[in-house]
């Protein structure tokens, strides 16, 4: 199969470039919530997850990401057959079997304590059966051409250990019987994960023998750690340090256009919201954000170019929709959002708020680069059209719970678009929230559009790529007209390393040590 050919070619090229084993210390922004790879779909959890676990299908055909399926075929529109690699083994020596796959996809649907569930990726799966130990038959309840893409985000855990394991067992290392390129050495929550190379690994062995993940949420501290030589590589370089790092000859900056979008999610909850009041501070009897004109006014009152230049210092590009230009699902007809203060004021007046209102927006601190700063600049622009805005920066641990419960009037989310195409965001942040269907897991504003949901369904059952892209583009138009979310920026991916290292991006925006090679 095509994928096999690619992976073989890739393996060969990697063996050729492998050099002497070394240690790598990686300074990360995104914290890890757990070593349980099925608990939370958080960037920080994925960074560590990809070191220990493989998914059934490839996340990224460019990078050396291991995946378990040797090949797959579509038997009929709702039946897929996956062949598992013969040599894929768990770190305790037992082979990876079809039962592990079935167990993983059942467990991921409901992991207790999850705040960002993976269940959206398996929502179309009706049944998983083992034809033989190395062959899995997956039946979907609807035709789903994106099944292999969906499954590339869900890590496979072992049935023989996982069956009796809780999230705590993964965190303690007890259940970390893995099948990825690394093994756990130690885990200090909030501080570091130390891992050593899995020498029994069935795939391509990475260059680094020992890898230490250090969690340094503060951007300045991360830069300082790199300059002091405490870490070799840092990700998400602080945009305010970019200039001085570029000028430093001991450091190399690696920056590439990225998929990650920064969005605002206005609340569609009809009940009065404590974070929206009239100018005197009295609660409004209905949520003004329910009115499309109000959302549009807020949308066009933001001078994105200015914020990208002045606040984000060129570390991001202006967004008009959730996918960046040039990707699958980007709609060229949905143009840049024009900055128009007069029209914004007129729209507010038309909606019955000529004097505006008071709004508190929420943004997590230190998780999305410069998001608190961008939010404050947005607050300036909104205040100028009469919507007096206050910004509250909340620690992410508190923020995610409250945002998930739709408590905020205006939530901020940075969405990774990890699959590189448009339906991922549609499924998780734009789809009408439904636990059963696995939709809207991070739809914190509770946006709900029947038209969008219909297009999502159509896109996810369309096997023809061109037709599927046209459907996604229609959905972009629908959401953009509704102002279901307020798109702001696409972050660039910026790493900095000590001289002599090279960081190569993957199409999936991940930040993992396998991307780092010595020059």
């Amino acid at each position: 199969m095509k994928h096999l050919a690619i992976s073989t070619a890739l393996a060969a090229s990697l063996i050729a470039t492998a050099v002497a084993a070394q240690d790598l210390r990686f300074g990360y922004t995104d914290p890890i919530s757990s070593l349980d790879p099925q608990l939370n779909n958080h960037a920080g959890d994925h960074n560590a997850g990809q070191m220990f676990w493989a998914a059934l299908t490839p996340k990224d055909t460019k990078g050396p990401v291991p995946w378990l399926a040797e090949s797959w075929t579509l038997i009929d529109p709702t039946t897929w057959e996956f062949k598992i690699r013969d040599n894929a083994n768990w770190s305790d020596g037992t082979p990876v079997t079809a039962d592990d796959i079935a167990f993983s996809y059942a467990r991921v649907r409901d992991v207790p304590g999850s705040v960002a569930s993976f269940r959206g990726f398996v929502r179309t799966i009706a049944s998983v059966e083992a034809k033989d130990p190395k062959t899995v038959i997956i039946k979907t309840n609807v035709p789903n051409p994106l099944l292999p893409t969906n499954l590339s985000t869900v890590y496979v855990v072992s049935k023989h250990v996982g069956e009796t394991a809780t999230t705590e067992d993964y965190n303690s290392g007890k259940a970390l019987i893995t099948q990825g390129p690394y093994k756990l050495e130690s885990y200090v929550p909030g501080d570091r994960v130390v891992m050593t190379r899995n020498e029994e690994f069935w795939g391509t062995r990475p260059e680094w023998k020992t890898v230490t993940f250090r969690y340094i949420a503060n951007p300045a501290a991360r830069t300082a750690a790199l300059l002091a030589g405490d870490v070799d590589v840092i990700d998400k370089v602080s945009l305010s340090d970019l200039q001085s790092l570029r000028e430093n000859d001991k450091v190399t900056v690696h920056d590439y256009p990225g998929l990650r979008v920064l969005l605002l999610q206005p609340s569609f909850n009809p009940a009065p919201n404590p974070f929206i009041t009239d100018k005197a501070g009295k609660p409004l009897d209905k949520n003004p954000l329910l009115d499309q004109r109000v959302r549009e006014a807020l949308n066009i009152a933001i001078n994105r170019d200015l914020i990208a230049d002045r606040v984000l210092r060129g570390g991001a590009t202006v967004a008009s929709q959730w996918m960046p230009e040039g990707t699958f699902g980007y709609d060229p007809e949905t143009g840049p959002i024009a900055f128009d203060v007069d029209r914004a004021k007129a729209l507010l007046a038309e909606a019955g708020y000529p004097d505006g209102f008071k709004l508190t927006m929420h943004v997590p601190g230190e998780r999305y680069p410069m998001a608190p700063e961008a939010a404050q600049a947005i607050a300036q622009f909104w205040t100028r059209i009469g919507v007096e805005t206050q910004v509250e920066v909340v620690p992410f641990s508190v923020y995610s719970g409250k945002a998930n419960a739709n408590e905020y009037a205006m939530a901020t989310i940075a969405w990774g678009n990890g699959t590189g195409e448009g339906t991922y965001a549609m499924t998780t942040i734009l789809g009408t929230v439904s636990k059963e269907k696995g939709l809207g897991a991070s739809n914190w504003g509770r946006y709900s559009s029947a038209e969008h949901d219909r297009l999502l369904e159509a896109a996810t059952s369309e096997f023809d790529d061109a037709k599927r892209e046209a459907i996604i583009r229609d959905a972009v138009k629908v959401v953009s007209k509704d102002v279901g979310v307020i798109p702001l920026f696409h972050y660039k991916n910026i790493w900095a390393s000590r001289k002599g290292l090279k960081v190569t991006p993957w199409t999936s925006d991940r930040s993992v040590p396998m991307q780092v090679t010595s020059e």
Binding site: N218, P219, A220, T223, A224, L227, S238, S240, D241, L242, Q243, S244, L306, I307, R310, V311, G365, E366, P372, E373, Q376, A377, A379, Q380, T383, R384, E388, T389, Q390, V391, E392, V393, P395, V398
Partner: protein
Amino acid sequence: MSVIAPEAPPQSPLVDKLRAFFRSPLAVLGLVMALGFGLVAVLAPWIAPQNPYDLMQIDVMDARLPPGAENFAGDMVYAMGTDGQGRDLLSAIMYGLRTSLTVGIGSALIAGAVGTLLGLIAAYAGGSVDALLMRLVDLIMALPSILVALLMLAAFGRGVGNVVLVLVLMEWAYYARSARGQALVESQRDYVEAARGLGLGSARILIRHILPNCLPPLIVIGTLQIARAITLEATLSFLGLGVPVTQPSLGLLVSNGFQYMLSGDYWISFFPGLTLLCAIVSINLIADRLREVFDPRALT
């Protein structure tokens, strides 16, 4: 200061203490600085070039300008530069002082009143009331204040009122312990015996006779606690849990500038940090001298 200098004729103890206080040039410097900061804080809305909390008046176009730069419109000069949002730092510092001093003095006064009262009650009532109150004091003093403050602010939400509340809850114990100790000593004195002999009520003896004699050490603690409260508020804001980001206090200003430190925009952290330092030093100088003045053994 000469030992053989003839003593001034006896005067009221208060005047005596005041004289002693002003004999230290450092304490006078502290007092002048503290009064200056207080004045700036009170007058900030009238003397600040800009209202830094009014988003209409700040402009992201002017972000991170160095000290002495003109604004985009060309009608004002940012004497201390601007922060990442285009906020005039001088104005922000003036307003930040308001928050810091309000929190510091407010929490010290409330905690002082509550703590002193509870301490006196403990000393006077004795027995199980005393035991209960003092174990509570032990408990509170055993907890690391910054950790408890973080937890409580995460639970209650942020805001100046909540920060004051948290500080009061953490600090009353210091006053209570000191007030109790002092009151226990005082209640053994003859003048209290005399007052009892006259048949005065306990409340009257406590408030009119014992309390005034317990005050000196409490005043010293109170002054030190103002400085401590300001530091704690700044720490909480620096950690992102104090005041809202659109209404920065000194700690939050330092925190905002911290991320620009490595890129050379030193002024965003430096000036608020310097102000914070001076404010705390000035209060500590006053407190130090007060302690010396009230403690006969320390005064030479």
